[in-house]
């Protein structure tokens, strides 16, 4: 009976004869979902990202020890049934720190995305739409930011702003926005001349309406894809900053900082650096696979 229900639901969602806006939107989302499932690597990436979100959300339930509580008598213990990934130099459980570290990672990634997407898009779309000297000025500013290696730039900003997660987020955001601006500008230029935009202009639409109602929905897929693919470098940059003592400050668990502090014990207590390192690898890879999969799903369907 459950299968019959799902069958009917499937048919309703596939059906292209819409009778309402919500149905139209659900249909689009469902078709996207079907395509995602059909691509095994992308789906795997999606599952890992989903796992990251779930682990971060349910960290208090999943961790079996306090991530901050120190117990020097238990320092540098190897993985065991009590401490699944062993303990670090302060006796803190690595597994629990990993789980809470997922929160930090997710926090940084989401915050950077939320800052970068609108700002990058706004700058790029404005440059593309208005053209002329506005375009030149905005793009040269973008070029200046782009010409620095991103880690160096993030370091410089982080050092200038001081240690701390929020400052790390700002520093990383400042290095991630230029490619988004460029992308937004390129897409805006492409669509600016499209007949449907001209039609709207000929009906009296102003720049605001055209950029927000017409161009944003068209740029969104590429920008989402680009941000997803960039996510891995955001995580790695955050880890790098953590590694260097900027960004997340002790005792807050952060995968990069964990890997850094484990360096000196690498030969004796390999789990200290390896475990967070693998976590960083998996999540970065997952975002890359998801981004690739999203590109396959979303791009060919673009007008």
């Amino acid at each position: 009976m459950a299968t019959r229900y799902f069958n009917d639901l499937h048919k309703w969602l596939i059906n292209e004869e819409f009778s309402s806006m919500p149905q139209a939107r659900l249909h689009k989302a469902y078709v996207l979902w079907l395509n995602l499932i059909a691509n095994p690597l992308a789906f795997a990436g999606f599952l890992v990202v989903l796992a990251l979100a779930l682990v971060a959300t349910f960290a208090p339930l999943l961790a079996n020890h306090d991530p901050i509580l120190q117990d020097l008598t238990m320092a540098l213990k190897p993985p065991s049934p009590i401490n699944w990934f062993g303990t670090d130099e302060f006796g803190r459980d690595v597994y629990s720190r990993l789980v809470y570290g997922a929160r930090t990672t997710l926090y940084i990634s989401v915050l950077v995305t939320v800052i970068v997407a609108p700002i990058g898009f706004a700058i790029g779309a404005t440059a593309g739409y208005l053209g002329g000297w506005v375009d030149v000025v905005l793009m040269r500013i973008t070029d200046i930011f782009l010409s620095f290696p991103s880690l160096v730039l993030a370091l410089a900003f982080s050092a200038a702003l001081g240690p701390g997660i929020e400052n790390a987020v700002i520093a990383i955001a400042l290095t991630v926005w230029p490619p988004i601006a460029r992308l937004a500008r390129a897409e805006t230029l492409t669509f600016r001349a499209a007949d449907f935009v001209v039609a709207a202009e000929l009906q009296g639409a102003g720049m605001g309406r055209i950029v927000f109602r017409h161009i944003v929905p068209l740029c969104a897929p590429s920008i989402i894809i680009r941000l997803t693919l960039n996510m891995s470098s955001v995580i790695l940059t955050a880890a790098g900053l953590g590694f260097l003592g900027l960004g997340a400050q002790p005792p807050m668990p952060e995968w990069g900082a964990m890997a850094a502090s484990g360096r000196q014990y690498l030969l004796d207590a390999w789990w200290l650096t390896t475990v967070p390192g693998i976590a960083i690898l998996l999540v970065s890879l997952a975002f890359n696979l998801l981004g690739d999969g999203l590109r396959d799903i979303m791009d060919p369907r673009n007008a």
């Binding site: 004869e17 139209a24 000929l202 009906q203 009296g204 639409a205 017409h214 007008a303």
Partner: protein, 256 residues
Amino acid sequence: MSIISVNDLAVSFGSGSDFKQVVKNVAFDVEPGETFGLVGESGCGKSTVLGALAGRIKGWSGSVSIDGEGVGPKRSRSQLAKQQMVFQDPFGSLHPRHTIGRTLLEPLEIHGLDQRQERVERVLRDVGLPPAFRHRFPHQLSGGQRQRVAIARALILNPRILLLDEPTSALDVSIQAEILNLLKDLRERDKLTYVLVSHDMAVIAHLCNRVAVMLDGQFVEVASREQLLQGSVQHPYTRTLLDGSRGYVPRRKSAS
């Protein structure tokens, strides 16, 4: 009094070595209720003339007067509402992410008109589409249906003039017939004035009262429909276009 009056219209693009005079000194008048055609091959400037009339092309010189009012390159909202354009490519003229209803509501929102749902339904019925199409996306519609939506969008602001840029060139023969019939019916009912650009002499002769033949940015002849049908045109280029519309002309009879 003419509803459209154009004098000394000239359009050029680029500067320096890129300079191109696309339209050179074009002048014509269109009477209310008339369908005026612009025919020619690619690059002759016919779409550019239409674009200048529509307000799409801003870099023109000369004088253009629409519905008794002189207009410049920049148009006000009420000026834009007087003449609306129907584009050639049905796939490109509708926003791929907006539903049909959204696309049709937009001009109503911009101009602050009331009774929006009723107007949308009415205009959809006028072009022969069921009102339920409001919720569909362009990719779910066929080329002919999209072109109907494009015409609906052009009509929704109640313009007096429709500017048609090759409205049926991208459509199949049977669909073209439906759209041409629809255009004729709407013209009759609403007493519209059309300016039609096409490269197809048969379509021009079907819809237009008069047609201007363009070559290299200029009018070489303005012929009436009767002249086209009887073949009594004056300029040799017009004759070439007329002959060409009949198909291929074999140079010699087939051997066997």
